[in-house]
Subunit: 325 residues, 2 copies
């Protein structure tokens, strides 16, 4: 009744931005990400008959706040599925995702938790089934089941049975790099969850966003298969700009960008003008991730590190999917 | 056959962003502006039988480039209307619009030129007719015919006969201020004209933009009549954000913002958090204009001048319409 799993975070190139069902975490659109080898969560789940409730430690600290509630509620899904009501677990997580770089630790966190829990309970789930469980912990986590390039198919069904991730290309298909650019920290005014919901509910641009996605998704998959970096990068950057544009049409409008976000965007565009193909993408926060090719690493990192407001740059390669230890 | 007219520039609170007819300069949407007393063009037009072609001087320099072509082509409109083909003019303009602050001099420029030309030719045009002539020189110039708060009604007719400006409230209706924030100058990548056209032709957000405008326009007119500063400011700021969002959905995407643009936006938002109502608006360029009330002038200007990247702040009151000297 004990298992350990490791999962990597991922960065979306086609953004997940809106839920059609809040409880089951069903998205309004399909998304696509690359799994990152630099950043992961390793989680051990140990079910024990003598426990009266779940115990959750994160980086060796016992957690009792809202994060505990999210974990214990999530374990209920598995207990109900396995008919093991009343069987509690010790959950120990080590999180190697730098939150300062604007990565949500929920993606690797829920992927590792789901995998370790299913293994500990000997559920023998397919990766597809595991992806569906993971999705219900945190939407983007369902993509972290796989390594390489991964699509989360939004699905049509009301029960979420066809909303899961599939692998587009494995880790060793293509060696691209992602630099996570850490900026002088400021507090976020609007959380991802709140911003996503406000955008879906009020943005005058939300329909335009949704309408444009199927073409982006088809084109970027072609680009990944063909290893066409300019195609993949420019679609990812344009998709990110569209996602952030939707927040400017919300009521009231808001943005996740700060001036330093824009400074890094300008650095990336000037790298391209100098002949170094590099493209940015930005999640629901101020930090910027930069895609580039290994041959350009030295120049790209130098320019990013010289940019005003940049405190750190952390490099990642394409990562693998769930592994068990 | 000689007349002098003075016209002030204006800043749009509901943006003009897209043409439905490029030649007649007919807009896809109605817009609304405030005329600014600080910035103007004074133009003398003198028709002389002995001239073989038009002569244009701007700030005492003889102009022979594309700006000359625009002026002489524009005068043809009047010559054709007045049946004075072959009668040329000396046009002398003094332009007091600081282009560094990102004001297009075309608004006050074409308004003054149209008024002086019509007067020199003794055409006895109504302000409505004059506004239609002015529109054909530069779209937003048609709003500079009037002082105070001005709407450019987009109209429906294919010949432009119902596309002209009307005054919503006169200059002395409401004393609000506009600070033009001058930023460290960088070159614009995409001109207003090109950006507008690319957005209309390709942006996935253009329909959302258009759909949202009638409500913005109605609400801001109510706010102006009621002198509700928070209402007017927040609608203007949201409308500007929506206009700029449309460029992020164009193919390829682009933005007029620079990092310093964002820094000033953040200053304005932090002024509001400190209890000083101030709102920004931004045209097709990086510079920011800030709306505020006279009682808050000291604090607003202090904070703007302390902002990184700001090289100058130029204050304007609400201005008057066309005048003749």
């Amino acid at each position: 009744m004990r298992a350990t799993a490791k999962a990597h975070t991922n960065i979306a190139l086609i953004k997940y931005w809106g839920k059609r069902n809040e409880e089951l975490i069903l998205p309004t659109n399909s998304s696509l990400s690359v799994t990152l080898d630099g950043f992961y969560t390793r989680t051990t789940v140990h079910f024990k008959n003598e426990l009266q409730k779940d115990v959750f430690t994160l980086n060796d600290k016992v957690i009792k706040d809202i994060a505990y509630e999210r974990v214990t509620n999530y374990l209920e899904l598995f207990r109900n599925y396995a008919n093991k009501q009343g069987l509690y677990a010790e959950v120990n997580s080590i999180n190697k995702v730098p939150t300062a770089a604007g990565f949500a630790s929920s993606a690797s966190g829920f992927a590792a938790l789901a995998a370790a829990t299913a293994q500990a309970l000997k559920l023998d789930l397919s990766e597809q089934e595991l992806s569906k469980f993971t999705r219900q912990g945190s939407g983007s986590a369902c993509r972290s089941i796989y390594g390489g390039f991964v699509e989360w198919q939004k699905g049509q069904a009301n029960d979420g049975s066809d909303s899961y991730a599939i692998q587009i290309a494995p880790q060793d298909h293509w060696d691209i790099r992602v630099a996570a650019v850490v900026l002088t920290a400021k507090e976020k005014d609007v959380s991802s969850r709140v911003g996503m919901k406000r955008t879906v509910d009020t943005s005058v641009f939300y329909d335009g966003w949704l309408d444009s996605l199927p073409a982006d998704l088809e084109a970027i998959k072609e680009g990944i298969v063909a290893k066409d970096f300019e195609k993949v990068g420019s679609i990812a950057e344009a998709n990110c700009l569209k996602m952030h544009a939707t927040t400017l049409g919300a009521v009231p409008p808001f943005t996740y960008w700060q001036d330093t976000t824009m400074t890094v965007m300008q650095t990336v565009q000037s790298l391209r003008k100098s002949g170094f193909p590099a493209y940015f993408t930005i999640d629901a926060g101020p930090n910027v991730k930069v895609l580039y090719l290994p041959k350009d690493e030295q120049e790209v990192l130098k320019k990013l590190r010289q940019t005003d407001g940049v405190t750190d740059v952390i490099v990642s390669k394409v990562g693998e999917g769930i592994s068990y230890v």
